[in-house]
């Protein structure tokens, strides 16, 4: 480490090449260095460069202070340095002379010899407690970094994080003032914690037994929706086309209707199948329109329906009795869902003398209707989209589908109207899914909260044991002990750690819930910390289990 030219004269202006033994004068100079920390800030913070000379000067002064600090040489007593040798093939460092105070918290004994893990050795080297040799030559710090930190031992990230945190070795009693930089020697720590490398691969001892957590028994899904038999296209579905025709042809049908029905009742109760198929149509209503040339088939349908309507309506109001059993008469469905447009000729005996019926294919007529595309304005289009979300299709209502006649539908509407008048909010209470709280249950706020609490709380510790091991995921690297627990800390019996630490780089993914649960299970009842290194800046994150308390008293 070379020191820069310093502006102050005399005692500090001594340059000593690194590694050399100092002369008396040099020693005196180094001891009498100012121990003051440089000022951290010189006035209020500047946010933008403004190109002024004053700002440039401030910046220069700050930088210079820092450089000065970083460039200071460390002076140690040669005799107090413990000699240690790096054994690359074995992956540890062996102490050649007896260990100093650091032995209480670092290092391990094996085969009667004192040894250090590589990261411990590197740390002590930086602190100035040991001298590291390799093949009988002392290693510089740079060389030591290169040799000791390989993928086999400890990664650089991991080393950084333990080095640069607020950890200190209490035994060393080091508390040099100074600022922190990753390349400099470890200086300021205000906290104090000791390190112990966790045995990777060994199971972590818990001081309590885990409770077996059995999940609530799986509720089997009940298939509550019985398939309701949908009656195939109801003969009573009146489509728009028919309605249009019906409206135009109505007066004629009604006007001329009086004579025929009286002669028909005997013919009516024919057993006809319910599925839509071309019929040898019922005589009465249709014979009227046999004479209308060009639009026989469709018109029949239209008027037929209207005629029924008229009859049905009359039936409801009680003006006249219906003559036919309309439940048993089915009409061919001309709607677009299943067209039956091939209509066969009516039986001649059902037609009056001067009327000739013929079979027809109404397909061409179906195609001619409703050709013009409705041009919707932009507002209308958006409105339709919105309406589709919030409106219920009337035909999708199963109760409506069950109505087989217009009369039944009217009755349904009346029933619903009555219901609405009686009970409050049938759209809330008359449905399969009702509100959680009924009005009678709200006695107190606490009771209300009880009724609406349907979501269950769970904890990080639950179910962690069953999670699969993910290779390449985050692992616990270190156990961290507090330094003031030094009285109880023994290397062969460290006791419960203060925290367990996982290291992550800034570009690596954040642990998801699965990893959190797995790691917290491994960690047991010791808090888990994630250390993140970002160019020398360390941040510690903790994800802790929490349960929000219920707040009832106000």
């Amino acid at each position: 480490m070379e020191s820069e030219r310093e502006p102050q004269p005399q005692p500090a202006a001594v340059e000593v090449p690194a590694g050399r033994v100092l002369s008396a004068r040099e020693l005196f100079a180094s001891r009498s260095r100012s121990q003051k920390l440089p000022q951290r800030s010189h006035g209020p913070k500047d946010f933008l460069p403004d190109g002024s000379a004053a700002q440039a000067e401030r910046l220069r002064r700050c930088r210079e202070d820092l450089w000065q600090l970083l460039a200071e040489q460390r002076v140690e007593r040669l005799g107090s340095l413990v000699a240690a040798e790096w054994r690359p093939e074995e992956g540890f460092v062996e102490l050649k002379s007896p260990a100093g105070k650091f032995w209480q918290t670092m290092g391990f004994s094996e085969q009667g010899r004192q040894r250090l893990h590589p990261e411990e050795a590197l740390y002590l080297l930086e602190c100035g407690s040991i001298q590291l040799f390799h093949q009988d030559l002392p290693l510089s710090i740079q060389e030591a970094y290169q040799l000791l930190l390989t993928d086999d031992t400890v990664t650089f990230l991991q080393y950084q994080s333990r080095d640069l945190a607020d950890w200190s070795l209490v035994e060393n009693g080091l508390s040099l003032p100074g600022t922190l930089g990753w390349s400099a020697a470890p200086w300021t720590w205000t906290g104090s914690l000791c390190w112990k490398r966790s045995e990777r691969g060994s199971s972590v001892l818990f001081s309590y037994e885990r409770q077996l957590n059995l999940d609530g028994s799986m509720q089997h899904l009940e298939d509550g929706d019985g398939k309701r038999k949908r009656s195939s296209s109801s003969p009573w579905s009146i489509n728009k086309k028919a309605k249009a025709l019906e409206n135009s042809l109505q007066p004629e049908s009604l006007a001329a209707s009086s004579p025929p029905p009286s002669s028909q009742p005997s013919q009516c109760p024919e057993e006809k199948p319910q599925e839509p198929s071309p019929m040898k149509g019922p005589g009465g209503p249709f014979q009227l329109l046999g004479s209308l040339g060009p639009s026989p088939g469709l018109a029949r349908e239209g008027v037929g329906c209207s005629w029924e309507n008229g009859r049905a309506e009359k039936g409801v109001t009680g003006a006249g009795k219906p003559r036919w059993n309309f439940e048993q008469i089915s009409f061919p469905n001309m709607a677009s869902d299943s067209r039956h447009t091939l209509l066969c000729a009516p039986a001649p005996e059902l037609l009056p003398a001067n009327v000739a019926g013929r079979e027809t294919d109404a397909e061409s007529w179906c195609q001619k209707l409703n050709q013009r595309k409705e041009k919707l304005s932009r507002w209308e289009r958006e409105h339709h989209v919105e309406a589709a979300r919030f409106r219920e299709d009337v035909n999708a209502d199963p109760e409506v589908q069950r109505c087989s006649s217009w009369r039944e539908y009217k009755e349904l509407l009346q029933r619903r109207q009555l219901q609405r008048g009686q009970s409050q909010a049938p759209h809330l209470w008359g449905q399969p899914v009702t509100p959680l709280l009924s009005p009678g249950q709200a006695n107190s706020p606490a009771m209300v909260l009880q009724h609406i609490s349907v979501l269950q709380t769970t904890h990080l510790a639950d179910g962690g044991a069953w999670l699969p091991e993910k290779s390449g995921g985050l692992e616990i690297s270190f156990d961290v002990y507090q330094a003031d627990a030094v009285a109880t800390f023994r290397k062969n019996n460290p006791g419960k750690p203060y925290a367990r630490m996982c290291i992550s780089g800034f570009d690596e993914p954040v642990p998801d819930l699965c990893s959190l649960k797995r790691l917290s299970y491994q960690s047991g009842d010791v808090p888990l910390i994630f250390a993140l290194v970002d160019h020398g800046d360390i941040s510690f994150y903790s994800f802790r289990d929490f349960t929000l308390p219920q707040d009832v008293e106000h």
Partner: protein, 324 residues
Amino acid sequence: MAEAVFHAPKRKRRVYETYESPLPIPFGQDHGPQKEFKIFRAEMINNNVIVRNAEDIEQLYGNGYFGKGILSRSRPSFTISDPKVVAKWKDVKTNMPIITSKSLLHAGDKGPDHEYVLVEEEECAMSKREDAPNEELVQRKRLICRRNPYRIFEYLQLSLEEAFFLVYALGCLSIYYEKEPLTIVKLWKAFTVVQPTFRTTYMAYHYFRSKGWVPKVGLKYGTDLLLYRKGPPFYHASYSVITELVDDHFEGSLRRPFSWKSLAALSRVSVNVSKELMLCYLIKPSTMTDKEMESPECMKRIKVQEVILSRWVSSRERSDQDEL
């Protein structure tokens, strides 16, 4: 696993409101057996839930702090009153807005309205509607009641989660679309169409409401919800919550892809406004079918995991954080 400690919420220094009730429903213990359980009315306008009736607005906001006035920051409090004039006449106890005569002149259309305003006018502009005559003939200002020249009405807008909570959990709100009331299942489906993540956000909202806290939207701090104890006027929000839906194996496609950078940013923002950052995981069992999710009853099988995220940066000076 060491649990996060609960810190008591911070009271606000100056509180201008009195606390009425935690929820807009009558409690049996207060009213006895004869309770008038009122169902409030809201409408769907442009995919938003709006409450127009002034009484309903008062009840919904005053008891539980549901919704937000569309012309105000939180409580619907828009008024056309001129604040200076109001301050001058503060002894006059009235609900009517007070404006100056000048702004009366600049008013827009004078349509058929029912509201009245008090106008500060000079005494020389006398009208029959004046108050008791004044002895002094010096130019004094008087408040005169006139028709409201402005017609601005403030409505209460409920978020989809708040609206659904009032309908499903409490049963005290009916939402109408073009005069037709909507059923719960229909609302559940329709809201999901409007806001695809509705189910997740609603479940979190419901959970925190069922614990007695007041969740409000967390847009200001980049999160989903802010949790208040009692309500925004009384306490500062204690927690800033992010919700995620995960499956049985505790994995799921995140609504917000997290990186350490974004987490650092969120953490910094939360600490600056002294809130704790909470991640709320909603765990859905893998046996749950999509059909089951079509009804809000699926919530009975969902589990909630809350995690508090805290951060400590070593290079900064030690603040008064006593734990990691």
